[in-house]
Symmetry: C2
Subunit: 461 residues, 2 copies
């Protein structure tokens, strides 16, 4: 399948010279995925500047049967926004649609186009005395359209929810070429099916998101950050329940890290140091928006082995760096098989035990590094090669290892994709493990809304 010359000509005519590109230097950074795992091709890059242009290019795609791959900041981790290797798909970058259309501080809402970078949304909110609570590692590059399309999560989900909970309104172009206009910042709306919620997390397969109205929250009055040493994940869960209750639900982050993770950071990241005088099997990084004395009281809980509360912004930042540099420390240490999984929060300790047994059975000596957003049940379950096994041999084992891990996740009622999505990377695993009723309903919905199969084909389904 190649895109016809007539289609390319129609795209060029509709979008004008600013709206298209086939310059290899412009294209290159958009064709390789964030992890550097795959590089695709496209006959033409489309760069619409407004919603009407997106609708126009969808009409052309329909007329010429051209598959479209929408892309925001190209920070996805599951190859959802990278065009196929064979050049059969046209890449649609939303980066030129980067306007904040409205900000209403008293109404706690902001309307941003798909191409606005998350950090710019955060900055605009702060300038208005508000906060946009989505926060994640790639916030300097990730853009609103992609963040909505993948229902992004991050480090404040415990308090504020995923993107799904932060979208009050949405604008998108549907596969039939119509513009779905639902941007009004309504806090309640029961007028029919919530198409907005269906589009959130659909990874560009049901619509191209062009703008979103986002929920803002009051800027926090206080911030208290603690580093806590504990004996076990079970103790961490008990502590989480206790602090949530004691702080009137003002816990914004609750990040779990095993000793082996902290050791990797201390070994590989210059300037890092253990916040506690003696080692503990597990650590929790806790951030709350309550006053420090409330947190001090809460940390007298018996589940806490030792703890330190940051006395300054600088100390708080240093504690956060221990958590944020863990992926980098891990990368320096060598390749791992990574799993972005979610479990019922209360099932995390039992899952960790069961998964360790399964990993040891299939790959004796493999080293598990499980860390992440315990408050959301979202564990980054990474497995490094056994010391005695070479990197190339290890790579061969990853598919069967991952299948094992996903099997255990499914057994505990968990999700094989907590926050990264399915894309192309996890499509086969989704088909293997998803609830059959859900799968057939998803396929029916896809066929109903995109009967030509032109919107990000081969992603998710």
């Amino acid at each position: 399948m190649t895109v016809s010359a007539a289609a390319l000509q129609a795209f060029r005519a509709a979008l004008g010279p600013q709206g298209v590109s086939d310059d290899p230097d412009v294209l290159a950074p958009l064709l390789t995925d964030w992890r550097g795992v795959m590089t695709g091709r496209t006959p033409l890059l489309l760069r619409p500047s407004c919603t009407a242009e997106v609708a126009a290019l969808v009409q052309i795609a329909r007329a010429h049967h051209v598959p479209l791959v929408p892309q925001g900041g190209n920070t996805g981790l599951v190859q959802g926004g990278t065009p196929a290797e064979d050049g059969s798909e046209v890449l649609v970058s939303l980066q030129r649609m980067a306007r904040i259309r409205a900000l209403d501080a008293d109404g706690f809402s902001m309307t941003a186009e798909a191409g606005v970078v998350l950090a710019d949304v955060q900055t605009a909110a702060v300038a208005a005395g508000r906060m946009f609570p989505l926060s994640l590692g790639s916030e300097g590059s990730a853009r609103i359209g992609g963040l909505v399309a993948t229902n992004a999560g991050g480090v404040h989900v415990l308090r504020h929810g995923t993107m799904r909970a932060l979208v009050l309104g949405l604008e998108a172009v549907l596969p039939d070429g119509q513009i779905f206009n639902d941007l009004a910042p309504l806090r309640k709306d029961n007028s029919g099916y919530d198409l907005k919620q269906l589009l959130i997390g659909s990874e560009g397969t049901l619509g191209i998101i062009t703008a979103a109205t986002l929920k803002l929250v009051p800027a926090p009055r206080a911030r208290a950050v603690a580093w806590i040493g504990l004996e076990s994940p079970a103790n961490a869960l008990r502590l989480l329940a206790h602090v949530r209750a004691a702080s009137a639900d003002q816990v914004s982050s609750f990040e779990l890290m095993p000793r082996v993770g902290l050791d990797l950071v201390l070994q590989h990241i210059p300037g890092s140091r253990d916040p506690l005088p003696t080692p503990h099997p597990w650590a929790v990084l806790l951030e709350t928006t309550c006053e420090q004395d409330v947190l001090t009281d809460a940390l007298s809980h018996p589940s806490v082995a030792d703890a330190v509360i940051a006395a300054s912004q600088t100390q708080a930042d240093a504690l956060w760096r221990l958590r944020e540099t863990l992926p980098e420390a891990e990368r320096i240490d060598g390749r791992a098989a990574k799993h972005d999984i979610a479990l019922p929060v209360g099932a995390v300790p039992a899952f960790l035990d069961a998964a360790a047994v399964a990993v040891e059975a299939i790959l004796p000596g493999a080293r598990v590094l499980a860390f992440g957003h315990l408050g959301d049940g979202n564990i980054h379950y990474n497995v490094r090669r056994p010391a005695a096994m070479g990197p190339a041999r290890f790579v061969e084992h990853i598919p069967s290892l991952s299948a094992q891990v996903h099997d255990v996740v499914t057994r505990f009622g968990g999700s094989i994709s907590a926050e990264h999505g399915i894309g192309r990377l996890k499509r086969a695993e989704l088909a293997r493990l998803a609830d059959p009723a859900k799968l057939s309903a998803m396929r029916a919905i896809k066929a109903a809304l995109d009967p030509l199969g032109l919107f990000n084909p081969g992603r998710i389904l």
Copy 2:
């Protein structure tokens, strides 16, 4: 269309004598809607006791082409759960499925079957030291299945969201007869389309909800309730923004009431008295979960004309009664044309001005009573007859009056159904006013998931 004897026989055989009824005394309370506006008929009441029985009855309905109307506590306000007058539909009551399957206090979740009454969920949560924050007038009768199917709202949406934000997992029988099993309490899950969110608010037209896993929150540490006199809705909005910021977003209710509403309560409800010494054009009932001194400080804001903070639980209850008895006082005063609408919060003052002009133009002398959940932009916009017009003449005017109100709502980007749903009552208005792209997508989804059109037909679409 009548339901065949063969179909009725198959239902009886599948569900047993406990699972069906045609006793008029059993049927009567289920056949008239909550407002007493319509009474339907059904050849047989189905009362499944478990999810497998619901799946079995759906298979029989498919084989015999029998339309099904699911019903919970029969508290709906839009005739969504009442079978048609012609007896062509079979009523499915979920009231026998009334088990709380699981409660995990440390995991902040509870799994309840569709027939559990909301008040029982609240009580079970409190017994475990937690809170289930959905709260509304009919909570002693409304059941979880219906509350999920209609995405119920109520008085704590500002802080905790609608039902949509409180459902972590869902179980439902789909129109193809498969059981959709997604009950695990996952806080993050990006494994494909969020079918759960599509079913929430779909009013039984896409699936019969059999159980839900609900999000619990910590029991509040404190409660402070105030009654505030103000000059205008614009001042109320300014106050809301101020208190949200000052209390670290601990505002749980923010209810607006005009003087005419308070006067109705004082006139018709025995024992009620004005909490403030002098009259004010508008009042706000404010509930927060912060300490009382934080609230006292916040109420020194210039938007406040006068205010009183409840000094005891008894006083707080008395203030809430002024708000909760307003619908009853209004009923005693005479019939009103009611509109359950939502607007962008910041647009409420301008909407009230514009709607008043529109109402006066079409029905001079009509008296507007607009009150409700200002924090959610959810206004109960009720219009009473002009003093000089008789009740019967007024009823004739209601359809054109409502169309006018809905037109103004739509002009301001609002919703013609904030929390009650569409059902049969608002179906024509939805078809007239909804975004065309949304309507056609909704129709495509309905046809894809329920091609035989057997699930609550004629509701919403």
